[in-house]
């Protein structure tokens, strides 16, 4: 008998840092029913928090909390230093040239809207074109549709191939001298497709177009290097990378951000204000009007420390094992269709359909088995239109998941098939 393969990381050890994962759900003491163990497989929606992240925010509130950049006092200096330190952590995490290129927002959605409003309104004109893809989350579709309405910009769409990957060979036919921007995801939130970011960026550059990468599903799971990508904007969220809600990042090239007008007006974003006018402040403050999410930014910094400690390469390698396990388990079940590309092009997201069982019914049975997944269109209705299905069931993994949880997922799907479907 061969020895078990060595895993890239130790999920059992890491899980000890996540109290929320160690619980039973649907217990009913009145009936002596102890409930079922929780298996959290909804990480594409949001991830859980290790004690270290929670503690960093507790420390902030108990010891250093104050407003940043403003008060001339001890606590304010401490808070300002902590926020600056978090900004530098993000910079290093992305391999970004400068910390001032890191703009703290509320999340991916706000980051993309910031670019659409600020850059889009300032630099796009009627007749200009923006290319988006068929697999985008609504957050990377609707802001461009709104810009198209405001400015008369034309949207063009890069299609999904039948192999579950973007039809990148057709991209040159969508690009021309009117193309201002190509906005696309690094990892599909439904199919798990890993897109060829550097290749798409290189093609866009050939016609002088900018690129925005929705990295909400990639930054938490694999090493990011904005310089090797060569792109112009990157957007992602803290809460999908074991960080707090309410904080996210827009990274942009310095000279580009510096050419853009402010998005929101208010305190903190100005250089000088008179009664009738203002001059905008320096980066990054120009895009951070109002009091930022101070404790959450500090929490995001702690999340990055934790992820660096585990190692992004180890996380990605381990998630490949989990995804392969999910394909093995679900792929063996008759009537189950797994959507998306083959394993080598896929991150830790597995969406599937069960023949003759509605996705909401699948999710309900899984939920009763303690398995948290998402059912629905996952904020990607056009993609589901392309697949020809109204909804799907999605299991999405992180480094604290185990292959045993995926076996339980398979058992629960079988139970759903037994309870529903296959009758007439």
């Amino acid at each position: 008998m061969s020895a078990p393969p060595t895993l890239p990381l130790d999920p059992v050890l890491l899980r000890a840092d996540f109290p929320i994962l160690h619980q039973r759900v649907y217990a009913n003491p009145r009936r002596g029913n102890e409930g079922v163990r929780l298996a959290y497989l909804d990480n594409g929606a949001t991830t859980q928090h290790p004690r270290q992240v929670v503690q960093s925010m507790v420390d902030c509130y108990e010891r250093t909390y104050s407003n940043v950049h403003r008060g001339a006092h001890y606590l304010s200096a401490q808070s300002t230093d902590a926020v600056n330190a978090a900004r530098e952590k993000v910079q290093r995490f992305l391999n970004a040239p400068r910390a001032e290129e890191v703009i703290f927002t509320r999340g991916t959605t706000e980051s993309i809207n910031l670019v659409a409003r600020s850059w889009g309104d300032a630099f796009c004109q009627a007749g200009d074109e923006i290319v988006v893809t068929e697999i985008e989350h609504h957050a990377n579709l609707v802001p461009w549709q709104q810009l198209a309405e405001r400015k008369g910009v034309k949207l063009r769409h890069l299609r999904l191939g039948d192999d579950g990957q973007l039809d990148v060979p057709s991209l040159p036919s969508l690009l021309n001298e009117r193309t201002r921007l190509v906005a696309f995801t690094a990892v599909s939130n439904v199919l798990g497709t890993i897109t060829p970011v550097a290749e798409i960026v290189a093609q866009a550059k050939r016609v002088g177009a900018l690129t925005l990468v929705d990295a909400a599903q990639s930054v938490p799971h694999m090493r990011t290097d904005v310089q090797s990508w060569g792109c112009d904007f990157v957007a992602f969220s803290g809460h999908k990378m074991i960080g707090p809600t309410g904080v996210g990042v827009l990274w942009g090239r310095y000279d580009l951000l510096d050419s853009m007008p402010p998005f929101l007006g208010g305190g903190g974003m100005i250089d000088r204000v008179w009664l009738d006018r203002f001059t905008p402040g320096e980066l990054p403050h120009r895009f951070e009007a109002g009091t930022p999410a101070i404790a959450e930014i500090i929490g995001l910094g702690a999340a990055i420390d934790y992820l660096n400690h585990v190692g992004l390469d180890a996380i990605h390698a381990y998630e490949q094992i989990l995804t392969a396990k999910a394909h093995e388990v679900l792929g063996a079940l008759p009537g189950v269709t797994i959507w998306g590309p083959s394993l080598e092009h896929k991150a830790g997201i597995v969406s599937f359909s069960v023949a003759d069982v509605h996705p909401s019914d699948v999710a309900n049975v899984l939920d009763l088995a303690g398995i948290a997944v998402r059912a629905g269109h996952h904020c990607a209705m056009p993609l589901h239109d392309r697949l020809g299905i109204p909804a799907s069931t999605r299991a999405s993994f992180y480094f604290y998941n185990t292959t045993e949880e995926i076996e339980r997922l398979g058992e629960a799907v079988v139970r759903a098939q037994e309870m529903f479907g296959r009758k007439s």
Binding site: Y26, N33, H358, S360, D361, A363, N364, A375, G376, F420
Partner: protein, 142 residues
């Protein structure tokens, strides 16, 4: 589908040992739902806020006082069971009687509260709102 009292429903659900048994009972009740003709499965009759499609229509019965009879359908089986339970509670009652029912409280009593709070996946909260709206419209029209 026959009308059931809260006590009858409670007694059936009380025999369920766990959530899976409870779900099986929900599905069984859903299978007793009278079919709804396809012509009534319109956008107007569709209940928004449900992941599966749910359609609800109401008809006024003859006689005094007038009573409401609801019919419904869904392409999701859990949703069909939930709407069947809801209709068994409200069918053939007067609008005033329907409006007087604490439907959220009843589902809580049946230990089905999880289906009300998880409104986005099963839409029970939206179904309750639709039935109450239809009863309210009829109540105001009288």
């Amino acid at each position: 589908m026959k009308t059931m009292t809260v006590a009858e429903l409670a007694s059936e659900f009380d025999d369920c040992w766990d959530e899976t048994e409870r779900l099986k009972l929900i599905l069984e009740l859903g299978r007793g739902l009278d079919p709804l003709a396809d012509e009534f499965k319109t956008e107007e009759n569709r209940v928004l806020g449900c992941q599966s499609n749910v359609w609800v229509v109401s008809n006024v019965t003859s006689g005094v006082p007038e009573r409401l009879h609801f019919d419904a359908a869904s392409d999701g089986e859990t949703a069909r069971g939930l709407i069947a339970i809801l209709l068994s509670l409200v069918n053939d009652k007067t609008p005033a009687e329907i409006l007087a029912l604490d439907l959220d409280g009843i589902f809580k009593q049946l230990e089905l509260a999880r289906y009300v709070t998880r409104s986005r996946s099963n839409g029970l909260a939206s179904m309750i709102n639709r039935v109450r709206d239809l009863a309210q419209q009829r109540h105001l029209a009288n």
